[in-house]
Point group: D2
Amino acid sequence: MWGGQYAHPPAEIMTEINASIDVDKALYAQDLAGSIAHAQMLAAQGIITRADADAITRGCEQIRREIEDGAFIFTPALEDIHMHVESRLKELIGEAAGRLHTARSRNDQVALDLRLYVRDAMDAADAALHGLQRALARRAEEHAGALMPGFTHLQSAQPVTLGHHLLAYVEMLARDRGRFADAHARLNESPLGAAALAGTSFPIDREATASALGFTQPMANSLDAVSSRDFALEFLSAAAVCATHLSRLAEEFVLWSSSAFGFIRFSDGFSTGSSIMPQKRNPDAAELVRGKTGRMFGNLIALLTVMKGLPLAYNKDMQEDKEPVLDSARTLLLALGAMTGMAEDFSAQTETMEQAAASAYATATDLADWLVRELKMPFREAHHITARIVKLASGQGLGLHALPLEAMQSVEPRITEAVFGVLDARKSAESKTSFGGTAPAQVRAQARAWREKLA
Amino acid sequence: MWGGQYAHPPAEIMTEINASIDVDKALYAQDLAGSIAHAQMLAAQGIITRADADAITRGCEQIRREIEDGAFIFTPALEDIHMHVESRLKELIGEAAGRLHTARSRNDQVALDLRLYVRDAMDAADAALHGLQRALARRAEEHAGALMPGFTHLQSAQPVTLGHHLLAYVEMLARDRGRFADAHARLNESPLGAAALAGTSFPIDREATASALGFTQPMANSLDAVSSRDFALEFLSAAAVCATHLSRLAEEFVLWSSSAFGFIRFSDGFSTGSSIMPQKRNPDAAELVRGKTGRMFGNLIALLTVMKGLPLAYNKDMQEDKEPVLDSARTLLLALGAMTGMAEDFSAQTETMEQAAASAYATATDLADWLVRELKMPFREAHHITARIVKLASGQGLGLHALPLEAMQSVEPRITEAVFGVLDARKSAESKTSFGGTAPAQVRAQARAWREKLA
Amino acid sequence: MWGGQYAHPPAEIMTEINASIDVDKALYAQDLAGSIAHAQMLAAQGIITRADADAITRGCEQIRREIEDGAFIFTPALEDIHMHVESRLKELIGEAAGRLHTARSRNDQVALDLRLYVRDAMDAADAALHGLQRALARRAEEHAGALMPGFTHLQSAQPVTLGHHLLAYVEMLARDRGRFADAHARLNESPLGAAALAGTSFPIDREATASALGFTQPMANSLDAVSSRDFALEFLSAAAVCATHLSRLAEEFVLWSSSAFGFIRFSDGFSTGSSIMPQKRNPDAAELVRGKTGRMFGNLIALLTVMKGLPLAYNKDMQEDKEPVLDSARTLLLALGAMTGMAEDFSAQTETMEQAAASAYATATDLADWLVRELKMPFREAHHITARIVKLASGQGLGLHALPLEAMQSVEPRITEAVFGVLDARKSAESKTSFGGTAPAQVRAQARAWREKLA
Amino acid sequence: MWGGQYAHPPAEIMTEINASIDVDKALYAQDLAGSIAHAQMLAAQGIITRADADAITRGCEQIRREIEDGAFIFTPALEDIHMHVESRLKELIGEAAGRLHTARSRNDQVALDLRLYVRDAMDAADAALHGLQRALARRAEEHAGALMPGFTHLQSAQPVTLGHHLLAYVEMLARDRGRFADAHARLNESPLGAAALAGTSFPIDREATASALGFTQPMANSLDAVSSRDFALEFLSAAAVCATHLSRLAEEFVLWSSSAFGFIRFSDGFSTGSSIMPQKRNPDAAELVRGKTGRMFGNLIALLTVMKGLPLAYNKDMQEDKEPVLDSARTLLLALGAMTGMAEDFSAQTETMEQAAASAYATATDLADWLVRELKMPFREAHHITARIVKLASGQGLGLHALPLEAMQSVEPRITEAVFGVLDARKSAESKTSFGGTAPAQVRAQARAWREKLA
């Protein structure tokens, strides 16, 4: 293949370590689209004939069909997707196939293919994120007023509503979408025409291929075009950050569906049994989403490591760019699909949640605030008084609302019956009317606003 | 401190693991700015008096001066920066200090402080990136026509110019700046007013504090505001990606300044000797920049790991958010400063570079192209013929340009004297006039365009 | 410093990026020990005089005291710990100080210092792990028979005992200790005498310095001695794996101390309140241990990244080896101390735990087993029958033990009163007598065996 | 499958995210071996009949043959390898297949399978490491006296020999083998018999299955047995550390085979051409080994992340344990095979290497030493004098050996003709006779000792 300089074939282990077709065949659509755009441009510029360009185009389209129909034969002997296409194209259209490679190198071709793949992957991720946001916003509106304990340190802190909690994730996912959108805009320049690394002496039209492939413009430096993979790293980073969000909600699904919490229940469709333990309803999908965070972080580190300290321009190390990208792209879609399914599926055990919100002294801060407001007590002192009352109640195994007035008065004689008004979890939640706060009316409005925005 | 519920002090190891003042004192400026904005808003809303707000503001300003003058006393006993400020403020202004904490919690305060810090860090990184771009663009214009071998696989591929090579980095850094700019825009919403997690019943004005602190608006969900650290992860990701770029240029500085390459030489100011070996001129700064990639990746993984699977809202794990952010922020500035210094400092050994560009058969592709153009040979065949000529020349230890015509004709009789025209490295480079290619005139124009843009 | 070749001082940013004294001063004890061993060897070999060696030794001992008393002055001008020692030694003993550097280079010196530090760090980690094992084994014996639900997927699976659960960690920690012990044995060869990289022409005795510093032998290849940091990577790996174990127990402490679980309660010494919410008893230490997993992973990735692709021998990148090692060493000790404190501190709410063990159908497998044993039913069928009974009970909001016999018989008529024997959580646990199983008598025996082994 | 509790099938996305057969079919041999051992033990203990055990054994052996012959049908419908085996076994031997699952759970089965796989992977890695060591030791003996520049900071430091350099890697690989050996010993306990998590009430013999499967003993705690994956993390860590070593040698192969260095040349079998550039001889295999470091780090981080903060016992997240392990196992073998091939293949360009060793002032330290020895000059002063001579020579573009005596005497008049004796690179190397130093005679002896040890 590499001509007259080489007297001997590659060593077997060399062939084995070099082959990438098992991985890069996933890029067939991008590769063919790039070839068609390149051939059409070559013809438009008079570098090849119109007939050749059309033969190439028809050949590429046939190859695409063959691959999608499962009729295409992949073989390790033809190292990668580019050689598979080249070889098949030659069978299909003969000598014209060779003209496709004018003013193009595998270096700009692989840069193009991966760039197109990442762009597609981000579009798919955006759609899936949108779907999860819609599901969450719908459930948030449904449960805008459903009380639950708000936790800090996994200890009951203050009552919030389930809708409020779910909307927090809608916000996080919106930023995830923003990251993909920004990355999309940044990567959307075409490397095609950089050739091996230095550009070419052929009178190519890089604007034309860029435009045909949906790019805003060609990249301005050919060395950069074939050497850079920051677009892939940015995708992997955004996916890893998104994975942290998904892992947090997944963790909560696991916690909430445990018998200790009992806040939600998944239907049979999202529960898994045990071949041994007949009672089991395991939240496997949530655990897997949480677990798959690992590969998302690993993929990011893998490509960061590959790129560390590589001199320009193309180095073979960069062949290792594809697997992490493909794996994170697939994993992200799978995880988002599973989370959307779970978000739509769970049934909230609102009574259990509300009981939990009312217990564990979650309204202690409201008591302290009452002392400040009604008795004009400095907050520090109010905090201290409240803590003593909490200790008293907890020693008797009672909630705050169940502690007799006299008991409270034994700590602070000025407390009156009116205090019971603020010890109620619902009233506590309703009082949090600051912008972004948990007051149900506000949560409902926010949920509706999101639903409209996402419709 | 935590009032009447607690009869005993924390265990010693508890105090030790909990203390964060050594780290978070770096956030003093952000913390004080937030407190001033909050106090002014509380007064504007009538929640505290104007006099109290002014006392708080003056107190905060004095504390800032004390810290900057080195007069402030830090003590492990006061766990973190917030308690240090609170305690000192009370000494300075008395009881009014306590009113600062109305409708605010440490949870929204730490979220605010780190957010402001990251915003500042990104501004500083942007300025430093700009500086490095300017230095590189200037050197690129200076060496727009300086030939060097373009490498793929670290093997000579085709001649390029040093200016072209340096501009590739200017492009990468431009995308790095883009990532920081996008991250800046995304983080620029205020968490202040989220209180502990649920919002507050006090009639606060979150728009006002957001505006006072340079945010575009308050965050829309209080749980999200205190729970999310994706803004920090995004910063760490962008810094890690930028570190890959810096590590690549650093690697090249190390290679180029080696005696094997001999392409550049650093002045005494950027060379380091050895206490043992008197001849040494080590490129320590470049090596350190390359090595510091490690901590940039490590910091990213550290915070990703912290955030994995954390339920809402605040968990103490999140105290671990600061060190990676601070370290990456400082490291990035240091690395950018060192790279800028080196970029300005190196002297190019243009003769050595040009000789290298002319050797190692870097114009073999030009020979193949000549065969295609002049002899109408198919590229595959031209490639094969050229490879045989390369083998012949290499067997005799000669460069292509030094191989006698007869020797070439022994492989392909139709080759004529005219072939020597394209075997010249400079002509090869000049022929690469496609957009983004290495032709010196184009490189010069690009360098000038960048210099104007960056001026 | 570097002599006649250099006409100009280093650039300011060069000095800034190069300085490491803030970090490597932590290695003073190792550095001084190495210098003393080297000087004594040089004298024994007749390379320097006995008088000089003794002066050096006395000087080093004085410097150690000065550092430990806080009297030693560190200055950024003297880049690192080696130069600080060299400079002070010259002040203290004059010209003889210069003879210390015969047949030694900073390259073998830094390799030695870090190796000694890592060895010390592993000894300290081993002792701390031993302490945590003891604490856990003691609590395991105390609670050998305390029932709790064994979880899979955080769903109740089968009853186990708290002692059994705690002993699982004793086993994990034993393997952690094994990893440190193996790493200790592997690193315990001396790099000293490798000089800059090639060895030396001085007649040194590497066996002697190795022995004086507690190594089993000198390293056999001088290039390897100055170039390798796998000993540090192995430490960081073992620490990261240990961190996963600690993070798991920490997660359980967080879960168990939540009001949803209520399995354990920490004393005031290991609880943290909130400045806002007076009821809070946060398990901060457990959260921090969990969170500090992040930096342990990050430190490992940092040094792996530094070492990737570095050619032999010493490169300045390797100066970045110290911070991750120091940080993981300190963090590990802190985390182990905190875990030991919590392990000793928590009070088990055994009644709550036992109730939980008895609920959530945790004995469903025992029912299925009873059907197999008593009714000779194939397991698959028994599993199916049991699942239907679970569904019936759960539909009525009853535990298995509380479901009337008639209800069970409506699913499988042959069930008799005797079935209630196996529906009891304690009997279930007691029946698991296979080696390593949860039967309390066995757990007690294991706990005792561990306590003896650890005494 | 999960019986009477479930009225509805899993959601489609649930099935998709849950299926693992594509990955875990790689564990078929381990799974079948475990089943045979378990069945034989059950019969020996009288829990099932001998006839059933023999039927199970024969069935498992047939399944193994079917899989190895490619005749076994895998289907996504049967989620994992365990269900595939169970289902096929039932077809082959009928009802007896069901008895295999007595006293065993999928939880101890997956723990067993992965443990056996990792053990096998480490044995294979050890053999491959041994092969690479042999190749390197042979080349080291061949080139025990071949001079090359020893580098620090990639700058010429002192002459060493190629054999010495290669032996440094033999040492590193020996430690890698030590890590795998230690990990092997540590993992070599059997989890089988832990059942779901709590052990079992059946009278099983865990010693028997442990012994049949080559383990030294059963694990002592059933919760630990099903919950722990530190054995896999330890494998991934050791593989990652080994990858750093391979990446360093790979980097050197890339550098050395570049035209700038020209130290080695790969045959056609380990060179790769370019479809565009006919002169190319790219060291693809070395670049790929270097690049694959990324996935080795990524796999480690992936599983560390999965395990962070997981409560006991089995969680579905742990299904993510297999892909990183399988990938690192395969990658390690591939990389070791490629490195062995390259180590055997390269031809050293000894003349070029020796010239490089003699240039770049690599014997400057020897000159300084001569001044100390012959002129009794203090080393600091000798260093300074030498540096000035280096500067003088370098200003004239001469090597030290080529600088006229008078020129040296212009710096230090006492220098005599005799100095030229130590300026010779070979003499410099020969003088480094300290243990582990680069003196060729010593290197040859070390290489021979290694070859005998590895024979």
